[in-house]
């Protein structure tokens, strides 16, 4: 008995170390590394979640997505302005006319209308949403992708554990204080594929030949400095060369999709990013964030919101549809969120300003109950009046869907204790 457990453990560890060396860095991924300095924190007394989701696709609307003009419409109220409300494929669930395709998939969506926070500036709000912690100048907190990798490990040794798709120069909720290999791989342009992964100006033969030259020139150096950090590079080169010819690399190439499919997601970076996200999770990447900015609508909200919504609507609807048809929706949590909502009162520039007090987000897939609206704001969408959900609660819900241990404390290198959703409580009502 004992031996069996040990050998299991050994195999697992070996697997973890093996995968660790492969895509992004050196050192063990998964709990192998974390366990050494992990300790149990307060127990929230939650039941374990069997059959938890394996992946998360996190669609982030940068700038503050207006709640009144997307998922929390208030027909007839003066705050509503131009935006009309439409029916969905679920009775009693109504959303904005700007999201007609998602309306047809409302049965997959858990719409949360009662998010509430106090962080009303972009960076602070964005950081809080991504990490559940307030931004501090003394530490960086990991995001949900890094946490899920830390607990679950990487699934495909030839691909990165988590990927960020978007043009942002600064992102929140990356690897945080975890080891560098927990940083997501960045894809700036989903159409460009994985950077530098193809031969450049040489054929395979020349490439191999040149590589052997490099090895010859470096032999003496390697003999002299047979140390871990030098050896790590040898390993890394072997992996890089292997990845260049591996089938997995095709995942990054959207040209492998039919033209019709690509069109279905929308011919724009966000749409194609969602398509890439789908391909990545299908190939066992744990976490993908697709970022879509431009929601900071201080002016002309009734002009800008429909434009942004059209792109969001098409891409997210295609993504949910595909995931379901391919049987991946059950083990993939799709999150649509943002840093805050926008002022219900329309300002003098026909825009809406920052409004963290009440806003909306959506979770779908991963065992979440669809066709639901959770929480409520008052008649003008100004105050949460039912089932308030704080940001850590929202993230705890996502983490819970992913089966992550919410009460497991991990320590930063400076020995400060942290948990995946900062002691937030998951909204258990949302689970089927």
């Amino acid at each position: 008995m004992n031996t069996a457990i040990k050998s299991d453990e050994w195999t697992r560890r070996r697997f973890v170390e093996g995968t660790a060396k492969t895509f992004l860095g050196v050192g063990a991924l998964g709990l192998g590394g974390a366990k050494a300095n992990a300790a149990l924190g307060p127990n929230l007394g939650l039941p374990g979640r069997a059959g938890a989701a394996k992946h998360v696709i996190y669609l982030y609307m940068g700038g503050g997505m207006t709640h009144l003009d997307t998922f929390d419409t208030k027909p007839g109220h003066e705050n509503q302005g131009q935006t009309k409300t439409i029916d969905t494929n679920v009775d009693d669930v109504k959303i904005s006319e700007y999201l007609p395709m998602l309306a047809q998939q409302a049965d997959k969506l858990a719409i949360i209308n009662s998010l509430t926070s106090t962080a009303g500036a972009h960076q602070q709000g964005n950081y809080l949403m991504h990490t559940s912690y307030e931004e501090r100048a003394t530490i960086r907190h990991p995001g949900i992708g890094a946490w899920s990798l830390k607990f679950g490990g990487r699934m495909n040794p030839n691909l990165p554990g988590s990927v960020f798709i978007g043009g942002n120069s600064r992102i929140n909720g990356g690897g945080g204080f975890f080891e560098p290999e927990f940083e997501p791989l960045t894809i700036n342009d989903p159409n460009a594929g994985l950077k530098n992964s193809k031969l450049r100006g040489v054929n395979q033969e020349t490439f191999d030949h040149r590589l052997s030259l490099a090895k010859k020139f470096d032999a003496e150096f390697h003999e002299k400095y047979n140390v871990k950090q030098v050896r790590a590079y040898t390993q890394m080169y072997d992996d890089a060369v292997r990845i260049m010819t591996s089938k997995d690399l095709q995942v990054f190439d959207l040209k492998n999709e039919e033209e019709m499919t690509r069109e279905r997601y929308g011919d724009n970076p966000f749409g194609q990013g969602c398509l890439l996200a789908r391909r990545l999770v299908e190939n066992d990447v744990r976490a993908v964030e697709v970022s879509y900015g431009g929601w900071d609508m201080h002016n002309n909200v009734f002009i800008s919101a429909p434009e942004r919504c059209a792109i969001l609507d098409q891409a997210m609807a295609a993504l949910l549809d595909d995931l379901e048809r391919r049987g991946k929706l059950e083990d993939t949590v799709v999150v649509l969120t943002t840093e805050f909502g926008r002022t219900p009162r329309i300002n003098q520039n026909a825009g809406r300003d920052h409004y963290p007090k009440a806003f909306s987000s959506v979770i779908a897939g991963g065992g979440i109950k669809g066709g639901v609206k959770y929480g409520k704001t008052d008649e003008g969408a100004e105050n949460v009046i039912e089932n308030p959900v704080k940001i850590p609660d929202f993230n705890a819900t996502v983490a819970y869907a992913l089966g992550l241990p919410l009460d497991q404390v991990l320590y930063s290198p400076s020995r400060r204790p942290f948990t995946v959703a900062h002691k937030g409580k998951p909204v258990l009502d949302l689970f089927a």
């Binding site: 492969t22 992004l24 860095g25 050192g27 960076q123 501090r136 100048a137 003394t138 530490i139 960020f164 942002n168 120069s169 600064r170 204080f177 080891e179 560098p180 290999e181 960045t186 894809i187 700036n188 994985l194 950077k195 530098n196 992964s197 450049r200 020349t206 030949h209 040149r210 030259l213 490099a214 010859k216 020139f217 470096d218 150096f221 002299k224 400095y225 047979n226 140390v227 950090q229 030098v230 590079y233 040898t234 390993q235 890394m236 080169y237 992996d239 890089a240 060369v241 990845i243 260049m244 002016n299 002309n300 002009i303 429909p306 003098q348 520039n349 026909a350 400076s414 020995r415 400060r416």
Partner: protein, 796 residues
């Protein structure tokens, strides 16, 4: 208001501070003393020192460690060709004074100080000023104690004092700012004591708050000026007038909406209120309606002016830091018996001398900075002496360098003591101090080949083998590709003018007489208000166009709407910022970077300059000549017709050559358009950039650079464009290879440039075989192969 001398404080002050003390200092003697102490430590632990390194290894190491890049072929030739007996010593001195060193040290400090793009968000001009200030401080070798004092006590505006970036970086986070200050400069980790007594160290939460109270008054957010106060008074009067007209009852509340009415009605003193006004509930409510209507009127009337204010002050959000009287309070859940929750905190030092706040000369923050940077401060000197030691040798005498506790193990206490006293004796001259360390035999020994065990002290048998920093790798390639890479600062002009622009905006707003200022805001407000109904009309048309699915009309209207926005922005600039566009004296601009006018080559980027120690700044790359087609002599004995044919063929060949060359040139220009030393690019670079893949710090937390291997790094070197920056015929290095005479020489040159050494006989043999087989292409292959060796990216 006093007239500000443009950029005066970004500039030259530190030039005059190099002490005579340091000049007379005997570097050799001090270096010998360091070696003696290190050797004693080694003997004590029965460890043999590593062997001394040869000139090649020294040259490469010194360039990388001091100037942040490998030496060029010319620099290597100069060094090897020198017959000067103490040429290593000379090289160290020269490199420490070079522009390359400024760039390299900038990357280091920017990581320690977390200088990221726009200092987080929205403070691009402050970032520019902070960058320029820091580079200037390094260039002029500002003594470390002044350097820290400048930052910790920094007040003023970005065009007077670039060091205020220190507080702008942490705006809104005064407690974290203190934690970072104490960690970086005093080597103590206090952040755990913010919420409770430190679990692993002796610090109490009270210690934390007493320290935080010193800098709590430092404010880097929006400011108030006399003109703004004037405007607020004006707006209040405007509002009062409107209310007075609407409601004749004196003292009746000005209600802005239903919610504020509700607050009155639900207040427990509501009845008293009614009594005071001798009103019934109904009367009050009626009057309240009038009040709310009056407020709407006010909002309508003032909307232009309010928009004007927002627009006018937008660029001035983060441009100054002031010290205010502000009392720090304990947290609401303070749990210890020495004080009450939410009680006020009096500033007090955590160790060392006490500061008597009642009897200080000047401000609290100055007293705090004095205490911090004092020679008597128990850890200030120790921390910098050890930090710079680590920078030179790759490992601290104690580790971590910023976490001194009672349990800290010092590998060699006598050495540390000597380093500390040397730093004091040098009056914190960082350049001199490093000069000592680089001149030691200890530094000039073979790199350590054993793996360090965490927590076991290292005794310095030689420096540690290190992977180059991301910037060292990038800058090495840049230096091989571009001429005068160290003095090439393509963003300098933009940075200077961005600071200058906000200074002019500030001047336009705050240095106007009050009445003129008010009139200006009113005028702008009126102009902006006029465009509001226009915008409304267009919007309505757009809603209709959308409904009718008239895409063409919609797009046309969208254009019109953007035109109005653009026009508004123009109005703000035209009416509001009268000083914008004023010609700036270029001498002032130059003073900001500490150079005389003669030295700066701002526009034409001529290629005549040589050397980089002369303080020449290039803001554009020197132009590269395109080679001309060399037409051969016509063959003899051609008849007229044949000659004509020959001529036309030649002319076609010349044309083809020219077009090929200009295509190649365009390619080269594209290739190098985004290249400059890392410190002169957007910094840190964007995610996904070569620099970031190799671990350039994101500058989010202190010293966040990484050195681990990753697949994207390998892919970058294997398949990235970067190798072309080396082999391209117009690149400095590529050109030299092309021009070299014979295969042996070309091969030697490639090894010299890439690895700073001659090829071994064996390597030469391999290269010969390559050349025999692949001809000219072989050279590209050699460069590529060497770029993909580990000896290229490790500092031996």
């Amino acid at each position: 208001m006093k007239q500000i001398n443009l950029f005066s404080c970004l500039g030259l002050a530190s030039l005059f501070l190099a002490t005579t003390h340091a000049a007379e200092f005997d570097v050799r003697k001090a270096a010998a003393e360091v070696d003696k102490l290190v050797d004693a430590g080694l003997r004590k632990h029965d460890i043999k020192p590593n062997t001394a390194i040869d000139d090649d290894t020294f040259l490469r190491r010194a360039y990388l460690d001091i100037a942040g890049r490998i030496p060029t072929i010319e620099e290597a030739e100069n060094f090897h060709g020198s017959t000067y007996k103490r040429k290593r010593e000379q090289l160290i001195t020269d490199l420490l004074e070079s522009d390359g060193h400024v760039s390299h040290a900038y990357n280091f400090w920017a990581d320690v100080l977390r200088i990221n793009q726009s200092l987080g968000n929205g403070a691009a001009q402050a970032e520019a000023a902070y960058q320029l200030w820091l580079k200037d401080a390094i260039k002029n070798n500002k003594p470390y104690n002044d350097f820290v004092h400048d930052m910790v006590s920094a007040r003023g505006k970005i065009w007077e004092e670039g060091a205020i970036g220190y507080y702008i970086r942490d705006r809104g986070m005064p407690l974290d700012n203190m934690s970072n200050t104490v960690r970086v400069f005093l080597g103590t980790r206090l952040e755990c004591a913010q919420c409770h007594n430190h679990p692993f160290d002796k610090w109490t939460q009270m210690d934390y708050f007493k320290m935080a109270a010193f800098s709590y008054g430092m404010e880097a957010n929006r400011y108030n000026s006399p003109n703004q106060t004037l405007l607020k008074d004006f707006q209040r009067e405007q509002r009062n007038d409107i209310f007075k007209k609407a409601i004749a009852i004196k003292g009746f509340p000005q209600l802005s909406n239903e919610a504020s009415l509700k607050r009155y009605v639900e207040n427990k003193n509501y009845q008293k209120y009614l009594d005071r006004f001798e009103m019934t509930d109904k009367q009050f409510r009626q009057m309240a309606k009038k009040s709310i209507a009056a407020y709407k009127d006010y909002e309508h009337e003032s909307r232009g002016m309010r928009t004007a204010m927002t627009e006018l002050y937008n660029p001035l959000r983060y441009v100054q830091t002031n010290e205010r009287e502000k009392t720090l309070k304990l947290p609401h859940d303070y749990q210890y018996s020495d004080a009450e929750p939410l009680g006020p905190v009096t500033a007090g030092t955590m160790f060392g001398d006490k500061i008597d706040l009642e009897n200080i000369d000047g401000s609290t923050i100055d007293a705090y900075a004095d205490w911090m940077t004092s020679r008597e401060n128990p850890t200030f000197t120790k921390v910098i002496a050890n930090r710079l030691w680590k920078r030179v040798f790759g490992h601290g005498v104690f580790e971590p360098v910023d976490e001194l506790t009672d349990q800290t193990v010092v590998a060699n206490p006598e050495l540390l003591e000597f380093l500390e006293s040397t730093m004091r004796e040098l009056d914190y001259d960082m350049r001199k101090y490093q000069e000592i360390l680089y001149n030691t035999e200890t530094y000039q020994r073979a790199a350590n080949t054993q793996e360090l065990v965490l927590g076991v002290p290292y005794h310095f048998q030689g420096p540690i083998l290190r992977r180059m920093t991301a910037e060292q790798i990038w800058d090495s390639i840049v230096a091989l590709a571009l001429p005068e890479a160290d003095s090439y600062r393509p963003r300098l002009k933009t940075q200077l003018s961005s600071v200058e622009k906000v200074r002019q905006i500030y001047k336009s707003l705050e240095e106007r007489p009050g009445d003129e200022y008010l009139a200006m805001v009113k005028k702008l407000g009126d102009a902006l208000a006029k465009s509001l109904p226009k915008q409304e009309k267009i919007r309505d048309k757009m809603y209709k166009a959308r409904e009718a699915e008239d895409e063409e009309l919609y797009r046309k209207l969208r254009g019109e709407l953007s035109d109005i926005t653009r026009e508004s922005r123009r109005l703000v600039s035209k009416i509001g910022y009268e000083h914008i566009g004023e010609k700036v004296d270029s001498a002032d601009l130059l003073a900001a970077v500490g150079m005389s006018e003669m030295a700066m080559n701002m526009d034409d980027g001529g290629s005549a300059m040589s050397g980089n120690a002369g303080g020449v700044v290039l803001t554009k790359l020197p132009s590269v000549d395109i080679p001309k087609y060399q037409s051969p002599e016509p063959p003899e004995g051609l008849d007229r017709n044949e000659m004509k044919k020959w001529r036309s063929a030649e002319s076609a060949a010349a044309k083809k050559f020219k077009s090929e060359q200009s295509t190649a040139m365009r390619y080269y220009k594209g290739l190098v358009s985004q290249m400059a030393r890392a410190s002169e690019l957007e910094s840190p670079a964007r995610r996904g950039h070569f620099l970031r893949e190799f671990g350039q710090s994101d500058r989010e937390v202190i010293e966040n650079a990484a050195y681990h291997a990753s697949v994207p790094q390998a892919l970058n070197l294997l398949n990235g464009q970067i190798v072309e920056a080396l082999t391209n015929q117009f690149a400095v290095f590529g050109k030299r290879i092309k021009e070299a005479d014979d295969p042996e020489e070309k091969t030697k040159m490639i090894f010299q440039a890439m690895l700073t050494r001659e090829p071994t006989e064996n390597e030469m043999e391999i290269a010969r075989a390559e050349i025999a087989e692949n001809g000219e292409e072989a050279y590209d292959g050699l460069v590529w192969a060497l770029l993909n060796t580990q000896q290229f990216i490790f500092v031996e």
